[in-house]
Each structure stands twice: as C-alpha cells, then as structure tokens.
Symmetry: C2
C-alpha cells in the first residue's frame, strides 16, 4: 500500500472518542480511519497511571500492526498519562487531545479564568494547568480543575439528558460557579455528548470548549508537515475494533457518531 | 500445608464482594481468606457473557494457584454468567451468590411477588427468575427484574448517600412501584452499600434481601459437607489482591469491609 494511503488510527477507552472521529471525518473526508474502543476495560479515568499506560501501549501496538500512518489518542486520560510514553515507544506521529483543547481554550478566554472538568486521573495529572500555563507564556491565567467521575459511566449507559444527568451535572458544576470562569474545557471526549445538558445548567456567557474540532485541525497539520496526507481517495466508512460487546457499541455508537456503524470487529487482548 | 488449613478464595469485579467477605468473616471467624478484586476491569455488569467468563476463569486460576480450598464467586454478574463454566473447569467447590439469595428471598416473601435489581448482564441472563421458579416448585410466584446499571459506578466512586444517590435510585425504583412486590433482592454485591438509601425510598413493608449472609451460611455448609472446615485457627486478616490502584481500593474498601485493609497486592494479568 502506498505510504499516504494508509489509515489513521484513533482510539479511546470506549465510545467517547467517536466525538473526535466525527470531526476528523468532517475535516479530512478523504482519509481512511480505524477506530479502536477499549470497551471491555472502560473507564480509564479511575485507573492508575501504570494501567492506563499499559492499556494504551497495547492498543497502539495493535494499530501499528494494522499499518496506520499516525495515531490520534482520542481520550483525555490516555493523553494525560500515556502520550509521552507512546511517543517514545512508537516511531509514527501521535497526536493527543490535551494540547489542541488547551490552545483553543486560551484563544476563547478573555478573563484568563478557565475551568476544566475531566476524569479523576486527568485532573490529578495536572496536565491541563501545566499545558495551559506553558502555552499562555507571560499572560496571567487561573485554572480551576474538577474531577467529574460519574460522567463517563453516564454517557456509556446512554444517559445524556433527563433528570439524572441534570442533577449529577448540577451537583458537580456547583463547585465551579463561584470561580467566575469564562471558559469551561470539556476535558474528556465523552463530555461533548452531555454538551446540551451542561449548556442549560451553566451561565450562558461561559464558552464550552470541546477539543474535537481543534484536534482534527491539528491532525490535518501533522499530515501536511509529514507529507502523509492522502492524495486521492473517497469517503469510506471507518473500520471499528472493540474489546467487548460489539452490538452495544454499534447501537450507542451510531447515536454518538451520527453515522451508521457496520464494520465492528471484536478483539481480545490475551 | 494441611488440606483444611488452606484459605478460601473470594472474588468480585471490584469492591462489592467485600460485603460478602464481611459476613464470611463473621460466620467463619477462624477461616483464612484471600480476596480478589478485579479493579482494573470493573464493572462486569455491562460486559458480554464471553468476557465475564474469561475474566472469571483467569481469577479462579490465580486463586487455585494460591492453593485455596474453595472459591466464593462474590459477584452476581459472574455467578449468573460464569458459575457453570467455572464448576466444569476447576475441581474444587465453587459457590455463587445467586442461589443462596434466591432461596432467602423465597423464605421472606409472603405474596410471592419478588423484585430483583441487578446489572444489565445479570438481569438479561434471567438467572434470578429461573432460579426462583426452580426453587419455588409448585408455589406460584411472580418475578420482576430491573437493570440498574449506574449503581455499581456510584458505589465504586464512594457515593452511597446524598442527593445524587437518592435521585438515581428513586428514578430506577419508580419502575417497580406498581408491581406490589413484598421482597426486593439486591442482586449485586455492591448494592448492600446503598441499602440505607434504598430503605428510605422504598415502602417500609418491602423486605430487602442481601445475599451476603445467606452465602456465608451456604459456604459453612459446603465446608462441613466436604470435610474442609478449618480445625484450629485464629482470626487473621484476609490477604487482598487487586488488578489496579491498591491505594484507592484500600481507602474505599475499609469503609465497605468495616475493617482495616493492609495487605493489598497488585496483580497484572498479561
């Protein structure tokens, strides 16, 4: 296969990364994609850094065997904890979601007071405050992180609106109300699926930053810089790999990707 | 080591099985216990039967290598989906939680209208209606099953009371209100930790059945019948094995076991 015609690998702990895949397909309609959801081991956000690094490396090894030309880590927890390690281990371009999301948040924020919600592991890693401060340079900013561990299970169960989602989100975001933020980063690729519910609860002046679109733009850049963009090609369906229960993935995934999901393969790591 | 002095293996997907371990230690204070929590791969209840069977067999293989004299499957999902398979594969006594819980529910129910809440996988398996009907014989009973998938994530996050737990449980149990049950089986070993919250929401006349105590009595029987009960021995702390993040397990586990947890080992299945 010609070097540039190879697919792009995209992975997440479960369904959340489909929000990134959707934007990638919009921005790069001619590229081929392989999506990997580690549905047997979701959620990653409550796991230890060592385990997240081990799982992430297993997946990238699998994608490399599938001959991908680059990898998108469409999972904030894995981007926070495993990206450095993955870049050392594998000799292809690897793009995480944290830096593109942080850069977008800085562009949107006027006051420099930025909130971020994510999994326990992402928040604990301090990756967002560190990245935001590095990108901000001399500009003074304040970052307020909040772990919202129930939101991934909610989304994985397909509960993205209604009284339960409302109460859980209201309860979490109450902690951010007094911080007078003007931007809230959705620091987990599952959260864009709760955007409408979050939108209703938050002050209307607060901008919600979903990194998916920023990631897609970044991937486009990386392909161009590395001469890896596909030359000819037509929009094909992505290939999907999951570690558990491909039926549930297909059903919920279609709602999240807003496209039909047909080509799902079950993979076992032994 | 003398045959009867060997430990009893107890396993669950995560923390829930500690509710069973607590009763086992009360009823069998002189026995030694090894507890295994598959905390890297929790929850089991949203996974496919094949995956739950594979994970369960891996754990029992590990426990058998640790020279246990019997195994308690302190997880309803694994009992529902893997027990038969485990009994075929391993030549030691293996006790699940479904049958003892179902037998207790039948003894407590006067009307024969029995509700059961459990994980998606447990409810889908129909194991409770099948077991209850087999045990009831000619007695007419009606069984109402309800999947309550968010309750395991709740407990694993340590949220066992307060407004979020209240609303989620109220929302689920609303579906059972019209069924006029007189017994509700807590068909997941995580749920006893939500007992007080469930108690407040349900009609006071409905008996909550937590299978932990019934399981402990059953284990006592099995040991006696197989001449496996320990002869001499003093109360020792259990040994703990987990697949992820032993610190979190220790912290939350102590609340659930109501005992100090000190001896936690991290195990990797590769």
């Amino acid at each position: 296969m010609r070097k540039n015609n190879r697919p792009i690998g995209v992975f997440d702990s479960g369904l959340g990364g489909l929000t990134v895949l959707r934007q990638l397909r919009r921005i790069l309609p001619r590229e081929r994609f392989i999506y990997f959801g580690d549905t047997a081991r979701v959620p990653y956000g409550s796991k230890s850094p060592e385990t997240v690094r081990r799982y992430s490396a297993e997946i990238v090894r699998f994608l490399v065997k599938k001959n991908v030309k680059m990898v998108v880590v469409a999972c904030n927890t894995s981007s926070a904890l495993a990206l450095k390690d993955l870049k050392k281990k594998f000799p292809i371009p690897i793009c995480g979601v944290v830096e593109p999301g942080a850069a977008l948040a800085l562009r949107k924020s006027i006051s420099g007071r930025i909130g971020i919600i994510g999994t326990e592991a992402t928040i604990k890693s301090q990756i967002y405050p560190i990245t935001l401060k590095a990108l901000a340079g001399d500009r003074p900013i304040e970052v307020f992180g909040l772990a919202t561990p129930l939101l991934v299970p909610l989304v994985e169960e397909g509960i993205t609106a209604g009284p339960i989602a409302n109460l859980i989100i209201k309860n979490y975001l109450g902690h951010l109300w007094r911080m007078e933020i003007d931007v809230l980063i959705l620091g987990c690729t599952h959260y864009p699926l709760l955007k409408n519910t979050i939108r209703k609860i938050l002050d209307k002046n607060i901008v919600l930053v979903d990194s998916a679109l920023a990631v897609a733009e970044k991937v486009k850049d990386i392909l161009a810089k590395n001469n890896l963009a596909i030359e000819h090609g037509r929009k094909l369906s992505p290939e999907f790999y999951v570690t558990d229960s491909s039926e549930k993935f297909r059903q919920l995934g279609q709602r999240f990707l807003r496209e039909k999901i047909s080509d799902v393969h079950l993979i076992k790591f032994l």
